[in-house]
């Protein structure tokens, strides 16, 4: 029973971490926020579903289509917000992205309808087990992707020239521009990356359960939890807090009450913020 919940929790948590990686980079590297992140996840999931059912592509081919489409959508959003981003007008950015999220949810409902849909992933039907714990191929895919994506992101941000540009802009956008870095381009790149990650999470996490256009909100809530609990912008913290939160949710749901697991996680967040406002993993 405990092992089963642990495996379940790790799969859940890897999904949370996968969802949060885009926001973590957005916050840590660009001090940007995006309250439409959950809705981008939702659009990613529904596009995957549409490409499979309407265009007849297999699941693995549908993922990149959805990811690219949402990345373009993210690019358009960032181009519209360009001035607010360069001014670092956080209050307006929060409100604009909140509005974008609402816009995407309304548009999503019009386009995709109000019925729950199921993404047909071959991995979801592949059952596996370790001892008494059962899991699917989809769960395994989510865990592998989460670790891979965090690894690549960590490497690119910390060890490459692109990473240096991004960190330079994060440190001081004005000064970076003096050194010839085009801050607007860096912000655009970071935002597109973040949107693509949200869509990837939607394409691989969503097949675990039926999808509705209202799921974006729930996903946004999870993103908040992971990002703030980890401490704003701490990449490795995001991975571990995501996994830990998944395990917490699984155990709380199994032994206390599934209805209150999100509220319990938020109660933990409130306590953490009072005791350690900088987050759990931040220095």
């Amino acid at each position: 029973m405990i092992l089963a919940q642990l495996v379940n929790g790790l799969a859940l948590g890897a999904g949370y971490a996968l969802l949060a990686v885009g926001w973590t980079v957005l916050l840590g590297a660009a001090r940007l926020v995006n309250f439409a992140h959950g809705q981008l996840y939702m659009i990613g999931a529904f596009l995957t579903f549409l490409v499979i059912t309407k265009a007849g592509l297999p699941y693995l081919a549908a993922i990149p289509v959805a990811v690219v489409a949402v990345a373009v959508l993210g690019g358009i959003m960032q181009l519209l917000m360009r001035r607010l981003t360069l001014d670092q007008n956080i209050v307006s950015l929060m409100l604009v992205t909140l509005a974008f999220g609402y816009l995407l949810e309304g548009g999503g409902s019009l386009l995709f309808g109000g019925n729950p849909q199921v993404i047909d992933s071959p991995f979801q039907n592949a059952g596996m087990s370790i001892g008494s714990a059962r899991f699917t191929g989809q769960d395994l895919l989510i865990v592998i992707l989460a670790f891979a994506l965090y690894g690549v992101t960590w490497f690119v941000l910390g060890r490459t020239n692109i990473g240096r540009l991004v960190r330079g802009v994060a440190e001081d956008p004005k000064l970076a521009q003096l050194y010839g870095i085009d801050a607007a381009k860096v912000y655009l790149g970071v935002f597109v990356f973040s949107a693509a990650c949200a869509a990837l999470a939607g394409a691989v996490v969503a097949p675990r359960s039926p999808i509705l256009t209202s799921i974006g909100f729930d996903q946004l809530v999870i993103t908040f939890l992971v990002v703030v609990l980890a401490g704003i912008g701490y990449l490795t913290g995001g991975l571990f807090v995501g996994l830990g939160l998944g395990v917490f949710t699984a155990f709380f749901g199994a032994y206390v009450s599934p209805a209150y697991s999100t509220a319990a996680a938020f109660a933990v967040l409130l306590v953490v913020l009072i005791v350690r406002p900088q987050g759990l993993t931040a220095r």
């Binding site: 909140l98 509005a99 609402y102 309304g106 409130l270 913020l273 009072i274 406002p277």
Partner: protein, 357 residues
Amino acid sequence: MTNAVRAGRAPAGTTTSDGAAGRSRRPGPGTRVTGWLVLAVAGFLLPTLLGGSTRIYTTCVLVAIFAMMSYGADVVLSYLGEVSLGHTLFWAAGAYATAYFTVKSGWGPLPSLLVSLAIAALLALLVGLATLRTREFVFSLVTYATAIIGLTVVSNVGGLGGSDGIVGVPLLTLPAIGGSYVARTDVDIWPIAYVLLVVVIFFIARFRRSRLGANALMTQMNPGLATTMGVDVRRTRVLVFVVSAPISALAGWLYAFQRSYVSPDLLSASFLLFMLTAVILPGRRQLLGPLIGAALITAQQQLASFGGDVDKIVLGGVLALVLLVSPNGFAGLGRLLVRRRHPAAEASPAATAAADE
């Protein structure tokens, strides 16, 4: 009839711009008071002037309720400069407390009003203390978190009706000379809604001129300077939050009677987006801003609705558009136009204020 409206509008413009710029030519106190009185009377007669149909009365009542709800968020957004994503919690707390105590405990409207306001203030104190050391997006995320905890609680607690909510809120009955005043329809609710709205606007006007209002603005613009001047920044933030919550709760109280039921949808994103848009659309820090914003959005949703999903697109689209084109709302747009046409006019504050109209 038309004269009354015209007479009401002229002073409205002067007083709004006066409040916004603060430095423009002030009319004498007598003129201002008269202007406000004429505006208040004209506002009260507005549903009659618009034809007096039940639909118009319903729309006007909803405008008043939603405007009060938005004024709660306005206090935090305009004067503290923080985005509270948790004001639906106070609004829902007001409505839920009212429904709970009138339906389950058989209380009258006035005791339930007092309890609603007290509960909202207490919740705001707790949220305010929890967010004491957070700013900007962390503050927004945590206030959002409290609204989500609230949503989970009201959706799951049996005593609060779960996802069905609480139905059968009795008619709003207030003690009056020679018996009692029973509000059976929106026509009967209108005078109550209107008086409360006027009280709220009066309260906001006082807040803007109060020490707390000034401290809040200073805290927003330069926390370092505020501290140097002896302002306790954290105390100010918590106090402003505590002041703002009962305003939204008051709106919730009336909404519970107007709709005669409460349900978890009070905590949905649509009410949150509504209050933020109502503040942002006319421009922050305008005394009548949230009222104008609420009137525009409610009129669209009540009289020109395209269905839930398209209304979402309209609300989200309008908010995004305003912030992208002119982050200061209509007021900023006016200023932008004046600057384009007469670059020199920008120097004169009076011209800026005039552009607000």
